[in-house]
């Protein structure tokens, strides 16, 4: 492990990034996630969760079992927003960018 070693390949987070946030007081995986986006990429923390948690455990002398599992919310996958739409796909939403603005 050196400073440039990637710890989260999806979001390009390095070991040096991790050290920075740990010295700011990060103690859980989710703390690291919020600072660095570690775990927010396409694999959704599958590659980095235990790797980072083990590094936190070693650095901060916290047992691995005391580092909570990462809080995973809907959606569990990176999906296009459009794919969440229901049947009313054909109805566009009028916005200030639409033609025929009220003040014209």
């Amino acid at each position: 492990m050196n400073e440039e070693t990637i710890i989260c390949p999806c979001e390009d987070v390095t070991y040096s990034d991790l050290e920075s946030v740990l010295s700011l007081g990060a103690e859980t995986f989710d703390d690291v996630k919020r600072f660095t986006r570690c775990g927010m990429g396409s694999c959704q923390a599958k590659a980095c969760f235990y790797q980072v948690s083990k590094l936190i455990s070693k650095r901060k002398q916290i047992p691995l079992s005391k580092i909570p599992y990462t809080h995973m919310r809907l959606p569990l996958r990176m999906i296009p927003l459009e794919s969440l739409l229901g049947e009313d796909k054909e109805k566009p939403v009028k916005t200030s960018l639409s033609e025929g603005h009220a003040n014209e």
Binding site: L74, R77, S83, L84
Partner: protein, 363 residues
């Protein structure tokens, strides 16, 4: 879509669970994010050891077992929904699945989480260089995609999985230039070790300071051997075996508690002897319930499927169900003790701990 049982994951445990639930007449939907059912079995060529009794006298490789399971579920009301990922639930418990283009909703009375496991990397400088693969990815490439991604390879890790994949890589024409292991001793069986030695593959245990280097891709790997000497091996590929971890990303969404158990893969759902989690009508099966062998993975699926059918009132005779479940737990014991007794002991403790907690909560 409405169904009795929704199974998340169509690998061996999901298919086994689907079979048990489906044969009682329940309607089942299996959601799998891959285009085909079978999970990791699809790229596995080795003969599967210690299959449960339902497969007696059959010598099946991984992909043959996948075909067998897919065939088993055909006569029943079991609908595979492939290419879809489970993404979340609505407030009333309706399941949302998405394939990147549309979202479909599933209303189910029971859910079985059969999401399997994900591979762990090993972190070292250069581990993300092109040419670096997990052993699972390598197995998919050479067995399913029929691609040989390089001419030489160094394996990092020494489990029986690694030995198996190294052997397959060799058969595909890749020269295994070394097997390096950070632990003091190799993980694989003595016979696997003998096999590697016979093939004159350089073996190094107790290594440290691993680093892969190369201009734009892996060209060589350096490390400190167990005797303190610096070693270098020229190689195009690096194959990493960091072990497996259970996939339990749905815990918060489905509302099941996790319990840490380092012998079962760390965070896994709490479950009782029915493989019922702490969330009502949510069961778990397979590697998601603890990293184990193929035979055990299948049996946990059978127990979960049976228990889901029982929960939905499909068995009027409680005795029959208890007997069958007990019989499968005995098979699980035999199969898992043969694989790794620590895993079985840990599983028993895990179930006991949860069952005692439930008793405490009720009183």
């Amino acid at each position: 879509m409405d169904c009795d049982v929704c199974i998340i994951g169509g690998g061996p445990s999901g298919l086994a669970a689907a079979w048990q639930a489906g044969k009682t007449g329940l309607s089942v939907i299996i959601v799998d994010e891959n285009q085909m059912l079978g999970g990791q079995l699809k790229q596995q060529r080795q003969p599967i050891q210690n299959l449960p009794d339902i497969f007696t006298n059959q010598q099946l490789t991984g992909f043959e077992l996948a075909h067998e399971l897919i065939h088993l579920i055909e006569p029943y009301d079991i609908k595979p929904l492939t290419g879809f990922s489970f993404i979340g639930v609505e407030a009333d418990g309706t399941i949302g699945v998405n394939n990147g283009r549309e979202t479909r909703k599933i209303r189910a009375k029971c859910i079985i989480v059969a999401t399997g496991a994900a591979e762990e990397p090993i972190l070292f400088p250069g581990w993300t260089l092109p040419g670096s693969f997990s052993i699972g990815a390598m197995q998919i490439l050479i067995n399913r995609e029929k691609i040989v991604p390089g001419r030489t390879a160094v394996m990092i890790g020494s489990s029986s999985r690694t030995c198996q994949v190294a052997s397959e890589m060799q058969q595909a024409g890749i020269i295994i230039a070394g097997v390096i292991e950070e632990k003091a001793k190799f993980d694989c069986s003595p016979s696997d070790l003998q096999h590697l030695k016979k093939l004159n593959i350089p073996l190094f245990a107790g290594v440290s300071k691993i680093r892969a280097e190369g201009e734009e891709e892996v060209e060589n790997i350096h490390f400190k051997a167990g005797d303190g000497k610096e070693q270098s091996i020229n190689t195009e590929l690096v194959c990493i075996d960091g072990g497996l971890s259970p996939v339990v990303e749905s815990n918060f969404i489905l509302g099941y508690q996790l319990q840490f158990n380092s012998d079962l893969g760390n965070w896994i759902p709490s479950y009782d002897s029915c493989f019922h989690t702490s969330a009502p009508n949510v069961f778990v099966a397979g590697n998601a319930a603890g990293i184990t062998s193929h035979g055990a993975i299948l049996i946990t699926g059978l127990i979960a499927g049976l228990s889901a059918a029982e929960a939905l009132g499909k068995y009027s005779n409680k005795e029959t169900v208890s007997k069958q479940r007990k019989k499968w737990w005995n098979e699980l014991k035999t199969v898992e003790m043969a694989y790794d007794s620590t895993v079985y002991q840990a599983r028993i403790q895990h179930v006991k701990q949860f069952e005692q907690l439930k008793i405490k909560q009720m009183s």
